[in-house]
């Protein structure tokens, strides 16, 4: 859906929504749906029967290795400011990649790599803080960084620091993001909107910080608990990062060809996030989470998975929030308690109304 006007990249192409997906399809998947031969290697031959190739645009790839699956994922991290309430870019880089592996069902991290691109003039003390934070987050996740790379660019050629992390992990069972069927229930592992609104509040110096804190955390152990409770009844997972819960639900609905009804009142939301969202005119369903997962399970397993999530400290506020339905395939219907409407996907960069 690159319109003729899009001869250059806009911020919307990185916002996690439809513009980004169509850019990836057009440029990196050679314009097709990825099923055929194309230059970027999204043809899936490497993934093997039942694997997850690039073309699925899932959280990572799953490759057949012997009788197991090797899950590979990579993610580049930029965040401004580098230190924010509740976390920093280092924690984000480790948790982000650990979570992408976990969303494929690979919860035992084999190894991480980390590439660092620094801007000339970046304080070494801050780099040390970031390194310490990565190490602490690795310890939480039971992960280890086994290879790395460091580059420095001239002043103004990069904004402070960019981290790229790649992760690999084995799993016996791959969970994709397209397994929903009508009747399946959707769960979130906790409150939504915390990361996006916390970062937005400091970035725009809104004097709103209060108790707004990012939720950034590695989720692999929480997800392991859910997978153990659900067995084969856990049919899809996604971490609602950029584009928020809304984008994650839309992707699941589109890929599975079902509609999803989201019960607004059931979505866990901190009061401070709700208030900041109202004030800024930003829907917390549209903003990034960095320590939450969206799980789809067969209806009979929903209660058991919910109990398993809630038994873990990172899942204490988990909730069943929606249901896959036959109507309006590919769309997300929001039940507000007063009526129903479609939930739109955020289209571009979210801009606070007042700045």
């Amino acid at each position: 859906m690159l319109s003729p006007r899009d001869s250059v990249i806009g911020l919307k192409h990185g916002a996690g929504g439809p513009a980004m997906r169509s850019l990836i399809r057009q440029v990196f998947l050679g314009g097709g749906d990825g099923g055929g031969n194309n230059g970027a290697g999204g043809n899936g031959a490497r993934a093997g029967e039942g694997g997850v190739p690039l073309a699925h645009l899932d959280d990572g790839a799953a490759l057949r290795v012997g009788d197991r699956w090797l899950v590979v994922t990579t993610d580049s991290h930029v965040v401004h400011p580098v230190f924010f309430p509740g976390g920093d870019i280092g924690r984000l880089a480790v948790a982000g990649t650990v979570n992408d592996l976990a969303m494929m069902g690979a919860t035992d991290v084999l190894a991480l790599t980390c590439g660092v691109i620094l801007e000339e003039g970046f304080p070494v003390a801050e780099l040390e803080r970031i390194q310490a934070s990565m190490e602490a987050t690795c310890a939480e996740a039971g992960a280890e960084i086994v290879a790395g790379d460091t580059k420095v660019m001239g002043r103004g050629e990069v904004d402070g620091i960019v981290l790229n992390t790649t992760g690999v992990a084995f799993t016996d069972r791959v969970v994709g993001d397209r397994g929903l069927t009508v009747g399946d229930r959707l769960l979130v592992t906790g409150t939504v909107g915390d990361h996006g609104l916390a970062v937005m509040a400091v970035r725009n110096d809104l004097g709103l910080e209060g108790d707004l804190r990012s939720d950034v955390a590695p989720l692999n152990r929480l997800i392991r608990a859910a997978m153990d409770a659900a067995g084969d009844d856990l049919v899809a997972m996604k971490d609602p990062t950029r584009g928020g819960l809304s984008s994650a639900l839309h992707e699941m609905a589109e890929k599975a060809g079902v509609g999803i009804v989201l019960e607004e009142a059931a979505v866990p939301l901190r009061n401070e996030v709700r208030a900041a969202g109202e004030l800024l005119g930003i829907d917390p369903l549209h903003v990034a989470n960095e320590g939450k997962a969206l799980l789809a399970v067969r209806p009979g397993a929903a209660d058991a998975v919910l109990a398993a999530l809630r038994a873990h400290p990172l899942g204490a506020e988990a909730a069943i929030v929606g249901t896959a339905v036959a109507e309006r395939a590919g769309s997300v219907i929001l039940d507000t308690g007063f009526g129903r409407r479609l939930l739109a996907e955020p289209e571009g960069e979210l801009l606070p109304r007042i700045c």
Binding site: M1, N271, S331, F338, R340, I354
Partner: protein, 416 residues
Amino acid sequence: MATDPMKADAVKANPASSAAGADRLQFRDPQRGRELVDLLGRRTAEVGRSPVSVMHVCGSHEQAIARFGLRASFPRDLHVIMGPGCPVCVTDTPEVDEAVVLARQGVHVATYGDMLRVPGTSLSLADAQAEDGAAGRVHVVYSVSQVVELARELAPEPVVFFASGFETTAVATAAVILAGLPANLSILSAHKYIPPVMEIVAEMPHTRVEGFLAAGHAATITGWKIFEPFVERHRLPVVVAGFEPLDILAGLATLVELVRDGTPRVVNTFPRCVTAEGNLRAQEQLWQVFKPAGGRWRGIAHVPNGNLRLRDEHAGVDARRRFDIDLAELWAGAPSALAAECVCGDIMAGLTDPHACRLFGRECVPSNPVGACMVSTEGTCRIWHQYGGVPDLRPGHDGEAAAETEGAGTEGAAAC
């Protein structure tokens, strides 16, 4: 006699709501919402004909209706039409042109963010800003006091505040003018006054409107009694309502009751903010600074007394009198061909809705708007688009077909 369905809440908060604490707002209690939906359904049925058409005249009402998905809960026989309730959308082309010409002349133009993309004859302020001549001369502000700060920073360079908004916003402009402006600051008023346009809509030959839902915030300034002469003249009821979902449902339930009973009068269902007389001090300041003047509202009509222009006493801060604004230079530029297909005017007059527009959600989107209704967060097209483009999810309703077309369009585009 019309009863106030909100009154019970006013005296006795729903115990379930208060028990749940601050996160359960009293005016967002779904249980109370369902009761009001039932009441609205019963009263609409009691009118005994279909459809019953009522109009609200406020973008904030449309925002709340869309955000809470209320249309899906409205009775099938009740049509709730959005009227000319977006001050940005009704700002006329020549008014935008005036601001564009000033910016091109090297004057700093400050305005609210919504106004930036409103199309003029050939350029919007955002377009003008992209040209070399006006680069860096268009400033987005969030309040009129911020304009004063900006003018002080930029002194002695001339600064013009391109002021938009209904009476609710005009009072803030008035207060700042009365407090005294920096010498380099003048005002280009595109302020509009709501009561006169209700007359226009009520008198339109194709109008189907049987009652009006008036905007609670504007009435906070004007008071609810201001609508009494209108009710007398047109024999149509007016209900003043707030902006929470329960406010809107209660307001509509009251309005339909008045339609049913054939007893047109003004009822205030927003008594926690609105009084009979309104904010007298604000009104005094408003009329000290502004006078009502006739003028075109974009897409609608000439509205007698619909524009708020500066009084002669304030000629010294009136940009129209301080600067020589020659609009002719813009007439050479061709208006966008798409603009001819835009039906914003009919949408704002309540004659049609965005689904009747071929451009809606296709050529015309918030990032690339064709018409003013897609620009402002108060515009019908923008609001419908923001909340999924289908305002009414009731099965078999017209939204269904539109959604399918839209889905097909998206897939087709992604595949190419």
